[in-house]
């Protein structure tokens, strides 16, 4: 029996992105390619105009919702847990716990296994399947919150801040900045779990994906558009004491002027750093993240048992250093096109 091929000999960084040679496809390429495997629907991972896209059915649905006819000329669904042979590589998608449909890409080639995490988290999320660690030779991990200051507190306590504020300021609208895919629906689901059954008002940019989640079987309760048809004073009264969700860019901008004396809140891992929350004009920060925090990153690296760790995007240097201290060979993959996206935190 010959030795398995070295991982770096068959999974490589090309200008277009991370390339799996014996399969002839890229994973989450930042620009259009012939063949792509997509880990999840966020825009910095799922780009339009690919020739052929392989992803979970949920991720494909999200891409169609966002890109319509440009979601990929040919689309192939692969359910989590199933294996598909692509070229000489076995491809399996395993839940990543990040957003609906998010998956790790497990690649087996000639006795060597590389797992590409995409984005992931380990804390529970009622809107998607939980992360499953997969033993492998190389674990390719994100590092969005790859600094030891990022330690997300328990979600229930963070959500409680919003619930207490609603009780304390029943006359004020509570506008929460949330990313349209994932955070929005997770926050709604968490509020419903906590017994908040009033209608939740949505900025127009959030509606489509909420509908999609519902069609995929994620119940979100009564949702209404945050419009002020007629524009009169009464039209705004309904927002008092209500939760209004909007993209982070809208919460402190002109759009929010329709709300009566709003409490400006945001749900994001970046809210951990006070100055960052203040810069964004947030008065009620909730540290609720769809990414692994520092402790989860380290725990996951250990659970996969991978002797080698590649870090794709985020604060790579700290995680590379820490993985090295844990006895892993670790390096940063200088991938382009993964800008720090605050809103996705």
């Amino acid at each position: 029996m010959t030795a398995a091929p070295k991982p770096e000999s068959w999974v490589r960084v090309l200008p277009e992105g991370l390339y799996v040679d014996p399969g002839g496809f890229f994973i989450d390429p930042p620009r259009a390619v012939d063949r792509a495997v997509i880990s999840h629907g966020h825009a910095d991972h799922a780009r339009p105009h690919h020739g052929h896209v392989l992803a979970t059915p949920e991720t494909l649905a999200i891409m169609r919702q966002r890109y319509g006819a440009n979601a990929g000329a040919a689309q192939q669904a692969l359910a989590c847990g199933e294996t598909l042979r692509v070229g000489a590589v076995d491809v399996r998608l395993v839940p990543a716990g990040h957003v609906l449909g998010s998956a790790q890409v497990v690649l087996d080639y000639d006795g060597s296994r590389v797992v590409v995490s995409g984005d992931y988290k380990r804390s529970p999320d009622p809107t998607c399947a939980p992360f499953e660690p997969v033993p492998c030779d190389v674990f390719v991990t994100e590092a969005t919150f790859g600094l030891p200051v990022f330690r997300h507190p328990p979600v229930a306590a963070e959500l409680d801040k919003l619930l207490r504020s609603l009780a304390l300021f029943p006359e004020r609208a509570h506008v929460v900045g949330v990313y349209a895919l994932g955070k929005c629906q997770r926050l709604i689901a968490l509020l419903r779990e906590a017994g908040h059954d009033r209608p939740i008002y949505l900025h127009g940019a959030l509606k489509g994906l909420c509908d999609l989640y519902e069609r995929q079987g994620v119940a979100l309760g009564p949702l209404e558009p945050a419009t002020v048809a007629g524009g009169g004073r009464e039209a705004r009264e309904k927002f008092r004491g209500a939760v209004v969700l909007a993209p982070p860019s809208a919460i402190a901008d002109r759009w929010s002027r329709r709300l009566p004396d709003p409490v400006v809140a945001a749900a994001s891992g970046w809210m951990r750093v006070r100055q960052r929350a203040r810069q964004r004009g947030v008065e009620l920060p909730m540290v609720i993240s769809d990414h692994a925090d520092w402790d989860e990153l380290i725990a996951t690296i250990e659970e996969t048992g991978a002797p080698e760790i590649w870090v794709t995007h985020g604060r790579e240097e700290a995680l590379v250093l820490q993985a090295g201290k844990l006895g892993r060979r670790a390096r940063a993959l200088a991938l382009v096109g993964r800008e720090e996206e605050d809103d996705a935190g």
Partner: protein, 533 residues
């Protein structure tokens, strides 16, 4: 510590003054003694722990965290207390989290070498938010956007009292203020203090409005100059000497020459200025306000500052003389007492602010219009029969400011506001023209204004900014130089800190000149000609 940490976090993020007051009053109502008293001391900057310095905190973190990881984290977070609070790898010891009172009292009693161990133990016993509050508390400077005055206002609201009552007691009390809280909660008497050198809340004037003079009898009023410094109170009683700002903060540390000169038994009201008495003719030469500004907001002062910008007090009033509270006396009687007292005492570094004689309002208007000295902000009108009362009653005292200076400037940058204004571009940087050295003209920023317009005008300005943006820098937008603002300001001074070399006092938007072409706005030279030093 949990309740205190929640208060600190709430204050950090609360943009509105009323919201901050609500949070503090709520805390005072719920937290027990002595915690709330120590919290009050922290909010009013009345606590310090010389043995707990930033270096010590850094050293504690260095023992537990890889230096490179710490450096990257600190670099990202930008605040030492916050970095350590977030990064601290807890080693649960089973010890219960300490109460605020325990932290303060044990730190005060600890020997220097015991301090690191104490702090380390607390960091292990607390969560991230509480660690942040602990580290901010012990290293000094909470920076939660609360002034001592605002904390006292919250305290007054909590106890259903006037803030003036709190201020008057304040400097005779010490943390953790048990008697004060007991009184405010109605189960104790008004705290007694033997220290008489406490703050007496100031009597303030209302601005004289158009037409006010018509209904006023000139014979009933006295006039005096309103000097362009900062209002102070000098309290020297029973061997204690304190110099207070208008809000009751003690600022004597920054003006030791004034405190040294207070070898008398009296409480006086006056204007703090920078001045040189030793000019020809014996006149006191008052320096422009920006010289005084060099000496404000400092805890201590250097010998060079004392020599370059010596402080002076121009006296307006006397409130207490030899232990006798004469605030209930009418102004004329207090004025006579002040003059007699000054004649007897002749304190150094002080003089009397003279009364300005006048017969009728038109004479006084001419006097006001003729005042060119930069040190004069305008006139004060005080009823001769007015007792000295705290606050700003309308009628007994008026301030009649000199007409503002005006300049047409061009809007250059706009920045988003805060709180209710966070969706509006409401802070405006404006410029004046000057030669660019290549035969043309360029705009140079000369000031910044963020009030003076109505809500409706703000909406229109906001739209204008969004439609004329040429570049963005975070919350700031550069706009194309097309909109002329007429700005009003009280005076203008030379400044080495500004690119233009000048700094305006109290600039505000007077009118928006939608009609005026930017090329017809004023030049820097026009502004420079307005400097009177």
């Amino acid at each position: 510590m949990k309740a205190f940490a929640a208060l600190i976090d709430g204050l950090v993020f609360m943009p509105s003054r009323n919201g901050k007051l609500r949070l503090m009053a709520d805390y005072f109502a719920r937290a027990p003694d002595p915690d709330r008293g120590w919290a009050l001391a922290a909010l009013t900057e009345g606590l310090s722990f010389p043995a707990a310095k930033a270096g010590l905190i850094r050293a504690l973190a260095a023992e537990r965290v890889d230096p490179a990881l710490f450096a990257w984290s600190y670099d990202y977070v930008g605040d030492l207390a916050e970095t350590v609070s977030l990064i601290w790898p807890e080693r649960p010891t089973g010890a219960p989290p300490p109460a605020l009172g325990e932290v303060v009292e044990r730190l005060q009693a600890a020997r220097r070498m015991e301090v690191p161990g104490l702090i380390e133990g607390w960091l292990d016993a607390l969560g991230a938010s509480e660690r942040f509050a602990l580290l901010k508390l012990i290293t000094g400077g909470l920076r939660v956007g609360v002034s001592a005055r605002l904390a006292k206002t919250a305290l007054a609201g909590f106890g259903g009292r006037e803030v003036a009552e709190i201020e008057e007691l304040w400097h005779g009390l010490a943390p953790p203020y048990r008697a004060l809280f007991a009184w405010l909660e109605g189960h104790g008497g008004r705290p007694e203090t033997r220290d008489a050198a406490t703050f007496r809340p100031l009597m303030l004037a209302t601005p004289l409005e158009e037409g006010d003079l018509d209904g006023l009898d000139p014979a009933a009023y006295r006039a005096e100059w309103k000097w362009d410094g900062i209002r102070v109170q000098l309290a020297a009683c029973g061997g204690r000497r304190r110099l207070f700002s208008r809000t009751g903060d003690e600022i004597g540390g920054a003006f030791p020459e004034i405190v040294d000169a207070m070898s008398f038994e009296a409480v006086l009201d006056g204007e703090l200025l920078v001045a040189r008495p030793e000019t020809r003719g014996g006149d006191v030469e008052i320096a422009p306000f920006n010289r005084l500004q060099q000496r404000l907001n400092r805890k201590t002062v250097t010998a060079k500052m004392l020599a370059d910008d010596p402080a002076w007090v121009r006296l307006y009033d006397i409130l207490v003389e030899d232990g006798e509270d004469i605030r209930p006396l009418p102004f004329d009687r207090r004025r006579a007492r002040l003059e007699a007292w000054y004649g007897r005492t002749r304190p150094g570094r002080m003089d009397l602010s003279p009364l300005v004689p006048f017969d009728d309002w038109s004479t006084l208007a001419d006097i006001r219009a003729g005042a060119r000295a930069n040190a004069i902000e305008g006139l004060m009108l005080k009823r001769g029969d007015s007792p000295y009362v705290a606050g700003r009653p309308k009628g007994p005292w008026f301030k009649w400011k000199r007409g503002p200076l005006l300049l047409d400037v061009v809007l250059m940058y706009a920045q988003r506001g805060h709180g209710k204004r966070s969706s509006f571009y409401s802070d405006f940087t404006f410029g004046a023209w000057r030669p660019d050295g290549r035969g043309g003209d360029e705009l140079v920023p000369v000031g910044k204004a963020y009030f003076g317009f109505t809500d409706e005008e703000l909406g229109r300005l906001d739209r204008w900014v969004r439609n004329h943006t040429v570049e963005r820098y975070g919350p700031v937008r550069a706009v194309s130089p097309e909109l002329v603002l007429e700005v009003a300001f009280d005076s203008v001074h030379r400044s080495t800190r500004h690119k233009s070399g000048v700094a305006m006092r109290f600039p505000r938007v007077h009118r928006i000149r939608w009609d005026k072409p930017a090329s017809e706005a004023d030049r820097l030279a026009t502004l420079e000609a307005m400097i009177v030093d």
